[in-house]
Amino acid sequence: MNEEKVGVYVCHCGTNIAKVVDVVDVATWAGEQPNVEVAREYKFMCSSLGQELIEQDIKEKGLTRVVVASCSPHMHEKTFRGACERAGLNPFLFEMANIREHDSWITDDKVAATQKAKSLTNAAIARVVHHQPLEPIPVEINPNTLIVGGGIAGITAALELADAGNHVYLVEREPSIGGHMAQLDKTFPTLDCSACILTPKMVDVGQHANITLLTWSEVEELDGYLGNFTATVRKKARYVNEEVCTGCGICIEKCPAKVLDEVFEVGMGTRKVIYRPFPQAVPKYPVIDKENCIYFLRGKCKACELFCPTEPNSIDFTQKDEILKLQVGNIILATGYDLFDVKRIPQYGYGRLKNVFTSLEFERMVNASGPTDGKIVLRDGKTPPASVAIVHCVGSRDENYHKYCSKICCMYSLKFAHLVHERIPDAEVYNCYIDMRTPGKGYEEFYHRLLEEGTNFIRGKVAEITDAPRIPAEEGKLVVQVEDTLIGRQRRVPVDMVILSPAMEAKPDSKEVSQLFKMGCDFDGFFTERHPKLDPVATMTEGIYIAGACQGPKDVPESVVQGAAAAARVAGLINRGTVMMEPVRANIDQDKCSGCRICNNMCPYNAIVFHEDRHVSEVITALCQGCGTCVAACPSGIITGAHFTNDQVFSEIEGILWDVRPEKVLA
């Protein structure tokens, strides 16, 4: 029989537990169980008096193990571990039985609840005697930070950290930072010029001594763990030497080849083959689009090289992709979002009906530096529409596409209505919405402003958009067919232009990115935060944070808040220098490993390495996150998962089944 002395403490939690569970009975009964030295019940175990009770018993009665039967360990495990530690007992020699959330709160049956409380308490007692003292693992934090994504969230995070004196690597896939915000004309509800507020921040990033800006680059691999990540970054060849280029733009002017700009201008305009996505781009160096470059295609041209005024010449057709290895302590992902492909809803006619636009196309159109110099015109490039319908919830709030609400569309659809009123005062504007969602400072007021401006609001989800007229008034028009649910009648609204407000959706490669960074991603492809309420920028993987729309639909202010929040979390870790990590880790007995290699591809963190020379596998403790998958897989039973060993769980099973298990006797 085990020599351990266990103290058991059953909590009333006021009446939360005691109302349903007979706590006195549970404590008395627990006192009779093997190894139990003392069993008590108390009103509030988590109170300072309750904790003192434990400390006192450890000191006076020489307890070697402690069990508290109270609430969820997610609530107070830390509290009671602290009490044990203060009394000189290793905190891992403690176990908690959850008789509140899992018991007293889920049933009114007092008998069953008391029985279950005994089971859970007994399981903890049976388990705790097998516990071993464990020490937290100290990890040093590399003060450099990697930020992936140069939209407004990434820019904010980078500036926050860099201003606080920390070095940041900002990696952006496109040739310039700025993200979607750089494409917008105005921001709601204040109607600030998007470029005017964003550009200074982009410039700050470009010039900051603490920021290494890596645009036209992508993270390809990630190794390591909190405090010590190694990121492999591919810096794609720009064919422009950044060391000498002054960004004068003569090469762009002289380049003879033009292509449709599918990225920044969303197909609404063209760009040169050597290009900057937009005039305020940061960095200012252009990039050669190799796929369309006449020189790369046919072996001659080199107009850009010919006209480049720098000495030596900035154009370098021989440039190769560079592979960089970055050593960082923390990572912030701010990879942003994409727009829903509206062609997936054929009844809205996008692609077939030429005057159906997407929101981003309209943004570019109304932008003064956009393809139409800010004029709102039909696809012919000249006719201003006399009537415009704006369709909300395209792909949002729809189980056939995305079930969630994209949150920003109501507001930007209102902004569009305003811009149409502003630029074409006589135009009729229809906003077709399911519900008007305008929570936010100044947002509802903006809605009222639009009501006053005379926008026609139709409450109803648009059923279809057609060019087939039924009556003469519809001829030559786009007809928006919708039920006006406020009057309960189907309406056919003839208009010249339709703007679709598509859902915000996760980047198409978000699943791969989440695997690359070894963290979670939800069904819709948005990255999963550690806790939706209380820990919205951390992820389940320590040292990796998320900010902005890669976590879910968000507008600019929210993205900024998240960028700053993630930066604050990282700065906190950098300040501490060293963090202690939970010692719940796996370990392979090197003498007993047969080298069968079953466990080798179990680990999502690549924490298991195989030593070819000794034919054994080993767990790299710092990489291990303690899930125990390898422990369950090991056919030889020689991988132990600290704090969740087979012994401990087997004892817990026996303990939890105390009332139904067969007698432990030999025949």
Partner: protein, 337 residues
């Protein structure tokens, strides 16, 4: 008889291979003969039960028991020999953990009889005769032992001092164990603690297996006759179920070396409660189907497609350890009986 230590060996539900294995220790058998007097060993010497009954308690120094306990006769003999022996050794897989006979724990006694006496192409039993426990003949009553529903390992019937795994145990291991016993009996050297599993390597069979092993992802399993294994490569990686990783070594990895997956006869590694459960876990872990990010049902469907290629998982993973497994037997017709 001389005052040499007394050796006994008895068989219960087993194939007889264990007896042969004792004789298969080559010239060392002469040492055995030199050291021991045989007190009971039906396979090699003509002793009767009444001889054993006549011995005083503890007269036999070492009794090697092979075979699972399947019927009342086995149980009776186990108790008798326990009483007469100082050390009771569960010799071989049947005695240790049930072995092949215990596979009938997956079904009922009735079903077993049905297969053995009626439903088998090689059986000619037109009168549907079944063994009965008692039959009257002119000479008097003849009896047969009671046939149990469940096959048990030796330690489920009597107290066992040592376990020697293997089907059968391999000569070097037998000899090593005998040496320890002889050393203890003749020179007073210390014995391993009671209840020890002796005669094995302590590490899984893979340690002794020379085949090249790499990371495993299996998308289809083959039965041995369905595939010619590629030489030199881990059989499990080729989709041949090999229990090596979950089986304690000591055998020298004989089977995998000739292209036959380890059947698991040495039983689980010390500290593992259930060899089948562990092997199942390992095999399932490396199934190459179902990736995160796919539809939940699609994942399940893909995994099921691979699992479907594993024929008879219980029989495969518990080929030797059924009686000693956590569940010991199957529930048949709503119960065990």
């Amino acid at each position: 008889m001389s005052d040499k230590p007394k050796l006994a060996m008895y068989w219960s539900a087993s194939c007889g291979g264990c007896e042969i294995s004792v004789l298969n220790i080559h010239e060392h058998i002469l040492t055995v003969d030199e050291v021991f007097d045989v007190a009971f060993f039906p396979c090699i010497a003509d002793f009767k039960v009444h001889h054993v009954e006549s011995y005083p308690d503890g007269y036999i120094d070492v009794c090697l028991w092979n075979g699972a306990v399947r019927n009342s006769e086995g149980e009776h003999m186990a108790h008798l020999l326990r009483q007469k022996s100082k050390f009771m050794v569960a010799y071989g897989s049947c005695a240790y953990e049930g072995c092949i006979p215990a596979l009938s724990n997956l079904t009922s006694k009735e079903a077993t009889f049905n297969t053995v006496y009626f439903d088998n192409p090689s059986i000619d039993n037109p009168n549907k005769v079944l063994p009965t426990e008692s039959v009257q003949v002119t000479e008097g009553e003849l009896t047969l032992p009671t046939f149990w529903n469940t096959v048990k390992s030796l330690d489920q019937v009597i107290d066992v001092d040592y376990y020697l795994p293997g089907c059968p145990p391999e000569p070097p291991q037998i000899w090593a164990v005998l040496q320890v016993i002889v050393g203890a009996l003749l020179e007073g050297k210390p014995l391993p603690p009671k209840g020890s599993l002796v005669g094995h390597s302590g590490v899984a069979v893979c340690e002794e297996c020379p085949l090249e092993k790499s990371e495993k992802t299996i998308t289809k399993f083959f039965r041995p006759y369905e595939i010619v294994p590629e030489p030199g490569v881990c059989l499990l990686e080729q989709g041949i179920v090999c229990n090596g990783p979950a089986t304690v070594g000591g055998c020298g990895a004989l089977c995998p070396q000739v292209g036959m997956g380890c059947r698991g006869c040495y039983g689980p590694l010390p500290g593992v409660e259930d060899q089948g459960g562990k092997m199942l876990s390992a095999i399932a872990s490396v199934i190459g189907a179902g990736e995160a990010g796919m539809d939940e049902h699609e994942i399940e469907r893909q995994i099921e497609a691979v699992v479907d290629t594993i024929v008879d998982p219980a029989g495969t993973f518990y080929r030797f350890s059924m009686a000693h497994s956590l569940l010991e037997r199957a529930k048949v017709n709503g119960k065990g009986e």
